[in-house]
């Protein structure tokens, strides 16, 4: 079998900045897991913009890769007032600082990155709905030469 599900995946954050943006740098941090995650959304990675140019003389588009973004991750969690990770999300929402993020899957490995925690509005739904939050993370490069994204494949 060569494909896997998200089962067993955890999401965790920390306010700490790694000493360097490597496996060792991130692994030196202690992360706090966000509990009751039901959907992880998009895992951060580069996605380039398309740039097009159309010369009216020949009608066809020329295309080039432009800038890129590391993306936005929207996570759905069931509201748990006792969860330390969700409490940390509230603190991070009120901060302008970037947070370290760890997404860990038992079969696919770990993905680390640096993101702004934009918020997690609550949705209580109706009587047949679990009350949830939609937490949004905005990933950013960490310097002009580094994305800050580190993927650690399982051994």
């Amino acid at each position: 079998m060569t494909v896997f599900t998200a089962a067993g995946t955890t999401l965790a954050i920390s306010a700490a900045v790694p000493a360097n943006y490597t496996k060792a740098g991130y692994e030196a941090l202690t992360f706090t897991q966000i509990g009751e995650v039901s959907d992880l959304g998009d895992i951060p990675s580069r996605v380039y913009d398309i740039v097009t140019w159309r010369n009216i003389a020949n009608r066809g588009d020329s295309k080039a890769k432009g800038g890129y973004t590391l993306g936005t991750q929207t996570i759905t969690v069931g509201i748990d007032p006792k969860d330390a990770g969700q409490a940390l999300v509230d603190t991070a929402t009120n901060s302008d600082a970037f947070y370290s993020v760890k997404i860990s899957n038992p079969n696919l490995g770990d993905v680390y990155g640096r993101a702004l925690v934009m918020g997690g509005p609550r949705n209580y739904g109706d009587t047949n709905t679990i009350a949830t939050r939609q937490i949004t993370l905005e990933y950013s490069i960490v310097s002009q030469t580094e994305d800050g994204i580190v993927i650690v494949l399982p051994t």
Partner: protein, 80 residues
């Protein structure tokens, strides 16, 4: 690792802690979680009073006998 106290019940990385429970964690994680109001630093345990070694009284050494210095009036040269 440092000792912290749970200010209210919470779940941290899969473990449940009751209010007032001692929660050991790395200093960096405490610095993350302190602004949430979930934990506070545990007071440092009071140091047990060091018991002083039992003193044994020893007799003070006798002061060395010093002959009295001769005074002018007692000087044999001056006696005549």
């Amino acid at each position: 690792m440092i000792d912290t106290i749970a200010k209210r019940a919470f779940n941290l990385n899969g473990s449940d802690y009751a209010e007032g429970a001692k929660v050991p964690m790395p200093l960096q994680q405490f610095q993350d979680l302190e602004p949430t109001g979930l934990v506070e630093r545990a007071p440092k345990p009071s140091k047990p009073k060091a018991t002083a070694p039992a003193r044994t009284r020893t007799k003070a050494a006798e002061p060395a006998a010093v002959p009295p210095a001769p005074t002018e009036s007692q000087s044999p040269d001056m006696a005549d």
